[in-house]
Symmetry: C2
Subunit: 267 residues, 2 copies
């Protein structure tokens, strides 16, 4: 079934990747049930954009609609969140886990909906940015973290992958905690466009994905990213000998990701 969808793919090795162009809410139902061992999701939290794209009854929003209550963007964002999280839960294997990253703008809504859908939280990991953007006006605390929710599919789920010893080794022989000190993705790792500007506004550091993938999947496992963006998940998955599927709606990001994987693959 996957092959019927428009996608770029490699073939043959234990680190194959597929990239699908489109909305994950449309594409995920075409993937086989329970076929994915690990999901990493970095969903958008641009409420304004989402309000333009979705509403609870699935129709497109065009202009002012006075049937909205006082929190239209929250409601539409919640509906969007419920849909992609539900679609992810269908393709997640019964012994799989999911990671979702977000900031205080969206992570509370996302976490609440994950709980409502039956996901069972294992940890809330804090990505502690060692070089955060300062709050120039001094009106708040410098926002130095993003939150990753790590969850299994259900409360009753017995089996899931956690490579405790691998994490311990990455932490000087001591048990890894839920606080990960990792710098922002900058410098050579940050992908630039033809004008030298950053090609993607929220490119995640590979070090972050390395911890996610190493801790909660094994070699040969299939990893899914429903909001692939610049392709970090597929790139790190391949480096660590995991298979991967990426889904990305914006053709320009798909191009960036494909080029990144092609380039890095020849290195």
């Amino acid at each position: 079934m996957t092959q019927q969808l428009p996608c770029s793919q490699t073939g043959g090795s234990a680190a194959d990747y597929h990239i699908h162009t489109g909305n994950c809410i449309d594409i995920l139902p075409e993937l086989p049930e329970k076929s994915v061992e690990l999901i990493f999701a970095d969903p958008p939290y641009n409420l304004q954009l989402k309000q333009e794209l979705y509403r609870p009854n699935q129709t497109l929003v065009d202009g002012v609609d006075d049937t909205w209550d006082q929190f239209p963007s929250f409601e539409s964002y919640d509906e969007f969140t419920r849909q992609w999280l539900s679609a992810c839960r269908r393709v997640l294997a019964d012994d799989g886990t999911i990671w979702v990253i977000g900031s205080y703008h969206n992570i509370f809504r996302v976490g609440k909906i994950m709980m409502d859908l039956g996901y069972w939280i294992l940890n809330d990991v804090q990505w502690h940015k060692t070089n955060p953007m300062p709050n120039f006006r001094g009106v708040r605390f410098t926002n130095a973290t993003e939150t990753l929710i790590w969850a299994k599919k259900s409360e009753k789920q017995k089996k899931y992958t956690f490579n405790h010893q691998v994490m311990k080794q990455l932490n000087e022989g001591k048990q890894m905690t839920s606080v990960w000190q990792i710098p922002l993705c900058t410098g050579a790792e940050r992908i630039k466009d033809e004008h030298g500007k950053k090609a993607h506004s929220t490119q995640k550091p590979e070090a972050l994905l390395e911890r996610v993938i190493l801790s909660s999947s094994n070699e040969g496992d299939l990893v899914l990213d429903p909001f692939l963006g610049s392709g970090t998940t597929c790139a790190v998955a391949r480096k660590l000998n995991r298979r991967s599927i990426g889904i990305e709606q914006e053709p320009r990001y798909v191009k960036i990701a494909e080029n990144r994987l092609k380039t890095e693959g020849t290195q």
Copy 2:
């Protein structure tokens, strides 16, 4: 109106405190509207601990099994949360702010409801515990944080207190970030009962409250804690010359708090 409620109180100074015995959902409606400059709330987390946990040396972990932390369902917890947060919003001054602390068990639900009620999040501060309890079985990451949501009353609110320079001074001259490294409340600071056991299962460190109160209130301001517990908020508020109101449902905790304030007051 406050005086008509059963409460213990001091009189006269800029650091007066009042402690009310009862459920904050019942008591808050009796307090004047918009009368409080700062709220710190440490509500039940609804931990849902379902079994006993032993350390590797076979000793039993003294978990939080208090009945006040038990809720029959997410829905009932959400309804409870909506009620106390609404009641708090009524008594909060139009230029005031609120802090709510929680863990991954509850903070996503709390944050979502805060947003729905119109609160506008300023920061999600991470209390990074320097000495957390390890994950003894090695099946998850050591849970090393609790989350504090700091919010103003509404998106449109222009004024609120943030003592940027005070925070900067507490951080070696550098802008304070949203990650606070503070140890657990242990040792002499931890209040013990007559048997030498911890008097409250979730007593917060004074260092945490100091940052909260110093950053977002001024001397003479009125601080409210709707879940006073062992009285840390009132104790720190008095030390920092803030007036305070504490509400606590459990008579045994009220006694502890009153005794703590009486004792410390004579020092």
